[in-house]
């Protein structure tokens, strides 16, 4: 039997709309975390963001590049109170986009936490983000929400995996 390299940690398919999804009590037995989201918004295409360990400090710098089907762009944020994991393309009312975030060395206590994100929707655009949680604390929770106070709609799926080194 091949070794399973993605260990399922938790998953949820929303039975009703919800403003945020929280993964908590994350154990330290893995090297990296993989977060896979395929979600719908109740309206519009709001930015989807994440916080670690409920940290609301300005500890989330990131750089991103986007393609909307006609032009490319790039932007960076040196300090923010959340990590943007989908600026405008990863979620809308159709649910035809997806977000994949890789959080490296999430349980390490001697380094900040790098995060690589890919998201996109064939009808809107595609985005790549390189971010960092500027904390040496081990990640024990991940909160996903959006900045427009818009709910994730019924049927949205959020899955967290652990990757063993």
């Amino acid at each position: 039997m091949p070794t399973n390299t993605y260990t399922a940690l938790a998953t949820v398919t929303l039975g009703g709309s919800d403003a945020e999804v929280v993964f908590s009590n994350i154990g330290s037995g893995y090297r990296d975390l993989i977060l896979v989201i395929q979600a719908k918004s109740s309206t519009g295409n709001p930015a989807v963001v994440a916080r670690f360990n409920s940290d609301t400090g300005t500890n989330y710098p990131y750089v991103r590049m986007t393609g909307n089907g006609s032009s490319a762009a790039s932007a960076s944020i040196t300090t923010d109170t959340f990590l943007n994991i989908a600026a405008a393309f990863g979620i809308n009312t159709s649910g035809n986009g997806n977000i994949i975030a890789q959080i490296m060395d999430y349980s390490a206590t001697d380094k900040h936490k790098p995060v690589l994100v890919r998201n996109g929707d064939a009808g809107l655009g595609v985005e790549a983000i390189a971010g960092r949680w500027a904390s040496t604390s081990a990640i024990t929770s991940v909160t996903v929400f959006n900045t427009g106070s818009i709910s994730f709609a019924t049927g949205s799926t959020f899955s967290l995996y652990g990757v063993i080194a």
Binding site: A10, F89, G120, A122, L124, A128, S159, Y161
Partner: protein
């Protein structure tokens, strides 16, 4: 992540197909390294033998500039073609979440190809197969005319969601 199947071409072939894909996973992850035997550089995908209802939007960089384009086609990435440096193959990954769900199938693709520092391209792509059927097969082929050369390879993985009994989601 578990291997479903690995294929490596013993001779040139028009396509690489994974059929009878188990319906027991949540997501699919496809890694492939291919090279066309023609002047065409691009790879395309189909699901369940269906070549309709595809669209994509992508971001690319070629070493000197970046751009973005979109189309209603099955393009998923670029490769070295028959005139590029010998023995170089394009490298690609495609992630397909919820491939058995009764909803349209979105997918994310990453692709790189280079010609020994003379030419290079990197692509990240968002695709959509606007069909609610579960994916039971998928096929890669050259976008245009041509075959994949000998030693082109592809590996299909399945990823299963679940719980470890410790992590809480709310």
């Amino acid at each position: 992540m578990q291997v479903i199947q690995h294929q490596e071409l013993a001779s040139s072939q028009a396509s690489i197909t994974f059929s009878s894909i188990p319906q027991t996973f949540t997501d699919l992850y496809l890694l492939f390294s291919v090279r066309p035997d023609s002047a065409t550089t691009d790879t395309q995908i189909s699901f369940n033998g269906n070549t309709s209802n595809f669209s994509r939007r992508h971001l690319f960089g070629n070493g000197s500039s970046a751009g973005s384009s979109s189309a209603a086609d099955r393009y998923v990435g670029s490769n070295p073609n028959s005139s590029f440096t010998a023995n170089t193959f394009g490298n690609h990954s495609i992630y397909i979440p919820n491939y058995t769900a009764s909803q349209a199938k979105s997918y994310s693709a990453d692709s790189v190809a280079e010609n020994n520092s003379a030419t290079s391209v990197q692509v990240i792509l968002a695709g959509l197969w606007n069909d609610t059927a579960a994916i039971t097969s998928l096929s890669l082929s050259v976008f245009g005319s041509g075959n994949f050369v000998q030693y082109s390879s592809a590996t299909l993985y399945g990823i299963l969601k679940g719980s470890d009994g410790t992590t809480v989601v709310s």
